[in-house]
């Protein structure tokens, strides 16, 4: 599988994604500079976490205009896979490639800790290895992860199976107490209508290297491998 990690000014998790794709999974992975204008035949484009443009104004607001984003949109339209993690997710909603918006956490604070998410739809290229409402333990690290979508659109994306991840308790219960940031209906990750673009706030790349005991993030990358 051919992967590219897009580097925006202020991307922080670019190295982490690159490391996991290339060294843990052995994918053919390369860097993509945000001023580039094409993706050059990739299967998967990863928009990593971080603070593109300092998250100034709104997270993702300025990065959506980077030259590479036109290519990302084309790639998505043509069915290519796009994975946006954390800041990558924020860029994708700002760019309109995914529905909704990401607002400041309910607590008003940055939060870095392990969260549990339940896979609501295993019928996507990103989650095919996560059947049976699989619960994953994945770190979150964000100040703006509070997912919002208006009620009509919420109904539509829910019916379409576009809600892919919800925050839950370790036992898989989706409850207010398990919601770390105030997201509507505990939503932690969504896909587009065609299900080839996934945005998620949790960081699967932070729990994929066998150096650590927690490896649930591997499920996302294994799913991608499986689909390739």
């Amino acid at each position: 599988m051919k992967c590219g990690v897009v580097v925006f000014p202020g991307s922080n998790c670019d190295h982490d994604c690159y490391h996991v794709l290339k060294h843990v999974f052995g994918f053919d992975t390369r860097w993509i500079w945000h001023k580039d204008e094409d993706l050059g035949g990739l299967d998967l484009a990863v928009l990593p976490g971080g603070f593109s443009y300092g998250d100034y104004l709104r997270p993702g607001a300025i990065a959506k205009f980077s030259p590479i984003m036109k290519a990302v949109a084309r790639h998505a339209r043509d069915g290519g896979k796009v994975l946006g993690i954390c800041n990558g997710f924020q860029i994708l909603v700002e760019a309109g490639l995914l529905p909704g918006a990401l607002m400041r956490n309910r607590s008003q604070k940055f939060v870095c800790k392990n969260a549990y998410v339940r896979v609501e739809n295993a019928d996507t290229p990103f989650t095919s290895e996560c059947g049976g409402k699989r619960v994953m333990k994945v770190p979150i690290a964000h100040a703006d992860g509070n997912y919002f979508i208006d009620p009509d659109d919420l109904g539509r994306i829910t019916d379409n199976g576009q809600v892919v991840l919800r925050y839950c308790t370790p036992d898989g219960e989706v409850s207010e107490a398990a919601n770390p940031n105030g997201s509507v209906q505990n939503i932690a990750g969504v896909v587009n209508e065609k299900k080839n673009v996934l945005g998620m706030m949790p960081h699967p790349e932070r729990c994929s290297d066998p150096l650590w005991p927690d490896l649930d993030g591997q499920l996302i990358f294994k799913s991608l491998l499986h689909c390739a």
């Binding site: 000014p9 190295h15 603070f51 100034y56 604070k109 870095c112």
Partner: protein
């Protein structure tokens, strides 16, 4: 005007002697910042010279932006700690944020990639609304800056005491990694080479932030033009970081220095000073944020996120191209010259011209008088017979676990991204954090410590304990201490009692490091931490870096498996002086501080390190504030899994001293039963007392002393008390 610049008549006379003429206003400004306490270390230098700074691993000692220690395999660790106390008291968010920015630049200026931050914080009483405001603001500032730059904040320490009501402390430590043969220094070498400015534009921020106040030349309207608070721009810092590391791959980069305190002035003078050259700068070329700035303002501005590069002649365009790629302002603003002076041009005229050595080395080293403070006469003794021993320890334990100085710091470190870059092997929450060295089998353990109550009661011993405890924390994680950095926070050096505290602390720190054979490679001094004559407790913050040759052999503080045995390495004495227990239960801050026997300390650390390296132990936790009882409780509940323990002890000490006393040189370990003999042998060979106390089991912590129940608690209850205490003060 001389006085307004914070210079004494003696100092002014010295300037006249050195120059053979009167300085102009700009030149006076230069002397004033460069000879300020902050930049010249004039009060502390003679004492700092006594510190042990050498060792086989040292690649760079004090004097550069940061210290460097060889970690083998062609790699080196670069680190330093710095204070941002005064700015953080005025504006906690920006003050703390720019503190992070400054220490990061110190590290990447040397060519290292910053890999971890620690924050060491001191606040006043939490019952004061102002304290809570400062606490929230500081944590928010650190989090916003560090997270945005993408360097994980992996640990630190935080203490509360009313002595910090009027002066909080914000010390930030940064660790970087570098190839041992790719170290950059602040050298303006090579006549004809270009001096390049890069980073944020220069504004009127914090002029005279580092030294004293303005000159009479400023009029009333100046105040509003000249905000004293600098605002950090972490996004620009991130670009600066990446651009610097990229450009430093080229051999035409000659020298680099960041513009910290005293901005362009200190960077240009110090770089020329180190290289023995001169520098000519044209201020008209400096990128400016505001209109009508004078040479005085440009030279003394402390705008953040700026650096000065010296680049080999002919490579100016190459350098500018890299900075352009990262959308940074950059300009060639001068040249390295022959001779040994710095010449400053502005609008075609000479604004200042000064001999480098006069400015850099000219400050008089002050022999400030020192005198033992009187307060010590009445508080160094403690009569234990007057203190009633409680029958049982449950209530005291709960009270200690809820005390802000001991309670869990999750509320703080959850606001910091402590995982970014995938190097954090031990996350915050254990004795020391462990950072792996990418591309190698090695890892580094880091910790910051200082119990300033001890230092108040006995600065010499207190500073020794800070060193010992910090090393012990690193050892408990499996690291062998290889280098120290320190941040000396004190009151006004103009008071003999403060100078005495300072002198004692420096001597104590130096003696402890010498004995433990670890070099001090960098540091920082922050004086004048006092308000209305009330000084803070002396607070010599110590940070230690420890090396793990095998990153898999790291160790955490929490129990791992039911059935493991629990033992104490080291022995307990009847010591309650200076303890958190004494303060909480008897509202008393007095007494002899715990004894520190350095040979004993060294033996315990060696034993502990060896048993971790040989894979014999499951957990290791040092006993510090709250003593053995708190260490036991923390070992039960700080891990991913709650585990109880059953402890049986016999002792001739008062039970409260045994359980809550803060005797040094003790480590609580747990280990599989089958390793008992091996550990006992190691301990015997190492001359370390080793006593099995009980075992890991169930979900309750029970402690029996001489056959009587002393503590008997549900671990879940204890955890809740400890875990939720601090967040009550959050906003």
């Amino acid at each position: 005007m001389v006085k307004a610049h914070g210079l004494t008549p003696d100092e002014y006379r010295r300037i006249l002697d050195l120059l053979g003429r009167a300085p102009n206003l700009t030149e006076l400004g230069i002397f004033s910042v460069m000879w300020s306490e902050h930049c010249s270390y004039k009060s502390s230098r003679p004492l700092l010279k006594t510190l042990p700074t050498e060792g086989p691993r040292v690649l760079q000692g004090p004097g550069e932006n940061a210290g460097i220690v060889d970690i083998g395999g062609g790699m080196a660790a670069v680190f330093k700690i710095e204070s941002h106390n005064h700015p953080s008291f005025i504006e906690p968010h920006q003050g703390a944020a720019t503190g992070v920015g400054g220490i990061l630049r110190d590290i990447f200026t040397m060519g290292a990639r910053p890999v971890a931050l620690l924050d060491s914080l001191r606040f006043g009483d939490l019952s004061e609304p102002r304290t809570r405001y400062l606490l929230n603001g500081v944590v928010d500032g650190i989090s916003s800056y560090g997270n945005c730059v993408g360097v994980p904040t992996v640990g630190g320490e935080i203490y509360f005491d009313s002595c910090y009501n009027g002066n909080i402390l914000v010390n930030v430590f940064c660790l970087g990694l570098i190839k041992a043969d790719k170290i950059f220094r602040g050298n303006a070498a090579g006549v004809g080479n270009a001096v390049i400015y890069v980073g944020s534009k220069t504004g009127r921020d914090g002029i005279h932030g580092a030294s004293l106040l303005a000159s009479s030349e400023f009029d009333e309207t100046t105040e509003e033009k000249r905000p004293t608070v600098q605002v950090g721009d972490p996004f620009t810092e991130k670009l600066l970081l990446e651009a610097c590391l990229e450009i430093m791959k080229h051999d035409w980069v000659v020298g680099v220095q960041d513009m910290g305190a005293a901005g362009l002035t200190s960077s240009s003078f110090e770089m020329a000073g180190r290289a023995g050259t001169g520098v000519e700068l044209d201020l008209s070329k400096v990128p400016l944020r505001e209109e009508g700035m004078t040479p005085y303002e440009i030279l003394l501005s402390e705008s953040q996120e700026r650096m000065l590069f010296v680049v080999r002649q002919g490579h100016e365009a190459d350098a500018l191209a890299v900075f352009k790629k990262w959308d940074l302002n950059a300009a060639v603003i001068g040249r390295v010259t022959e001779g040994h002076s710095v010449k400053i041009l502005h609008a075609g005229e000479i604004a200042a011209q000064l001999p480098v050595s006069a400015v850099v080395d000219g400050a008089l080293a002050l022999q400030r008088p020192s005198q033992r403070p009187q307060y010590l006469d009445s508080i160094t003794e403690l009569d234990l017979t007057g203190l009633k021993t409680p029958e049982r320890g449950d209530e005291a334990l709960k009270k200690l676990l809820a005390a802000p100085n001991i309670a869990g710091k999750r509320w703080v470190y959850e606001q910091y991204d402590h995982m970014v870059r995938l190097n954090t092997l031990i996350l915050p929450g254990s004795d020391a954090s462990v950072i792996r060295v990418p591309g190698a089998q090695k890892a580094l353990a880091i910790s910051a410590d200082c119990n300033s109550r001890y230092c108040y009661l006995d600065p010499y011993q207190g500073a020794q304990i800070a060193v010992a405890e910090c090393c012990r924390n690193v050892v408990c994680a499996g690291g062998e201490p290889i280098g120290v950095t320190n941040c000396l926070n004190f009151g006004s050096p103009e008071r003999p009692e403060i100078m005495w505290q300072f002198e004692q602390a420096v001597l104590g720190m130096g003696d402890a490091c010498r004995f433990l054979e670890i070099p001090i490679v960098s540091g920082n001094v922050s004086f004048y931490n006092e308000t209305k004559g009330e000084a803070i407790f002396p607070t010599p913050t110590i940070a230690v870096v420890g090396l793990l040759e095998d990153q898999k052999r790291h160790c955490v503080q929490w129990f791992q498996k039911p059935g493991d045995l629990v033992a104490l390495a080291g022995f307990s004495m009847e010591e309650l002086g200076g303890s958190e227990y004494l303060k909480l239960t008897f509202d008393s801050c007095r007494g002899p501080v715990p004894n520190l026997d350095l040979p004993q300390e060294k033996k315990v650390q060696r034993f502990c390190l060896r048993s971790i390296r040989e894979g014999l132990v499951s957990s290791a936790h040092d006993c510090s504030e709250g003593g053995l009882a708190v260490a036991l409780a923390e070992s039960c509940f700080t891990g991913p899994r709650l585990l109880g323990a059953r402890i049986e002890m016999e002792s001739t000490l008062r039970s409260d001293a045994l359980m809550f006393g803060e005797t040094q040189s003790r480590v609580l370990i747990s280990f599989p039963r089958e390793n008992k003999e091996a550990l006992e042998t190691l301990a015997r060979e190492g001359g370390v007392e080793f006593s099995v106390l009980g075992s890991v089991e169930g979900e309750r912590l029970t402690v029996r002393i001489d056959g009587e129940d002393y503590i008997e608690q549900d671990v879940r209850v204890l955890k809740k008390i400890w875990d939720e205490s601090l967040e009550r003060y959050g906003r």
